[in-house]
Amino acid sequence: MINLREVSETNEMISKENLDVRTITLGISLLDCIDSDLYKLKKNIHDKIYDSAKDLVATGDKISRYYGIPIVNKRISVTPIGLIGGSACRTEEDFASIAVTLDEVAKEVGVNFIGGYSALVAKGMTKADELLIRSIPIALSSTERIMSSVNVGSTRTGIDMDAVRLMGDVIKKTAELTKDNDSIGCTKLVVLCNAPDDNPFMAGAFHGVTEGDKVINVGVSGPGVVKTALEKVRGESFEVLCETIKTTACKVTRVGQLVAMEASKRLGVPFGIVDLSLAPTPAIGDSVADILCEMGLESAGAPGTTAALAILNDQVKKGGVMAASYVGGLSGAFIPVSEDQGMIDAATRGSLTIEKLEAMTCVCSVGLDMIAIPGDTKSSTISGIIADEMAIGMINQKTTAVRIIPVVGKKPGDHANFGGLLGHAPIMDVNQYSCDDFIARKGRIPAPIHSFKN
């Protein structure tokens, strides 16, 4: 039978260490909504999402109340709109009008974000994909709850450098159109390599074409829980350090599994995966950077940071895999700058640079995330940063991503504020040397040699 010590441990994780279920994300296929008439398409999309998700928020709140665990976000992911809008959309504005429909239905059902304003262009862009990508600045500046992602590469296909070049422009335009709010549009736009089909976390969530009609994916969190556990093993060996992370990650993930099964049962939607990520927030005590410091670093970015993060990422996966029946999504440690107070402090004091962050992305679960850079950064430089990150993902057979915000009107030393969970960030220096001629080349980077496994 459960005892007082175990009950107290769980409740202290919740009340003092910010243990929460970060998101219940309902994935919805929109493939059966396709119509060549734009009006009908939008009506189909609205009706399917509304019918599927009308009970999502109330159900999430009820589960939260039953178990006494906060479920911070209730969200939706949909089939990439680049695939859905192809036969109905003739212009960028046509596509952006679908974003407005998605935004409206998100508000109606009460979810805070809906992901899937996306295109999958790892090897090339269809006309529709390109139109959708070009419409992203309008879509993100005319909506509140839309999240957009573009997958521009994979280990199997290589990298579509035409899409990488285009994304540099799209990020710049999105920044310009949302410049009154510190270019916040770019916080909702991520460029990916090896994007997973079942990721419940924004901004990269979309309902992949390999998925069924509907699915429940759950993302757990709990950097504060891991940090508190590590405080008790200061000075101990790597074996003890790793075991502590693993055991803690396992406990956290069990809660995710419980919530996922319960949400699946109550909503009558199949359970997909638990994403066992350590997702920080700007709240004090909810920081991945603080875990790195607890492991023995003076500040995130110090020598040893990549090794410490590699340990953390690997042990989180090892602990979590045992705890959940199906694991997927991104699963690992996130290292966003603006959403993690320890990372914000490290970037502000100069111990963390974009180059060090890039090294860290080789061993973390995603990539360059929520990094504010000067607003006058050239689009080709942004494309260069994207190309570097995509290459890391392609060669290392892992998901990588770039969510970077060229904050219009701001320069290094200034600060950008995005509000809420999106946080705030110092403007970081960008290498000023040009990559114009490299990015101007047309075509794609071939798939790496280790992709030929057949």
Binding site: M1, N3, S8, T10, Y66, Y67
Partner: protein, 90 residues
């Protein structure tokens, strides 16, 4: 039928258990197990209860216990036992 775990945490004072138990008795909630400690003047109690004969909905009971806690000056939580079972038992 799953059990409910009620926890009471806060500064120790006279009559905490009496008031919580009175509420549970009034609502036909049966106590199956109680454990309690006091560490440095702080009261920490856990009860395993069966709500099968209770007419009220779980959320209503949880809300009323929370209010009772506010009244006494302690934190009272009611949670379904599965969250603890899942986390600590394989």
């Amino acid at each position: 039928m799953s059990k409910t775990i009620i926890t009471v945490v806060g500064k120790d004072t006279v009559g905490i258990i009496a008031r919580v138990c009175t509420y549970l008795a009034k609502n036909s909630i049966n106590i199956e197990d109680i454990s309690q400690t006091i560490v440095q003047g702080y009261f920490n109690m856990m009860m395993i209860v069966d709500m099968e004969k209770c007419d009220k909905h779980f959320v209503e009971v949880a809300d009323e216990l929370e209010e009772l806690g506010n009244d006494i000056g302690v934190i009272i939580k009611a949670q379904k036992e599965e969250i603890f079972e899942k986390m600590h038992r394989f």
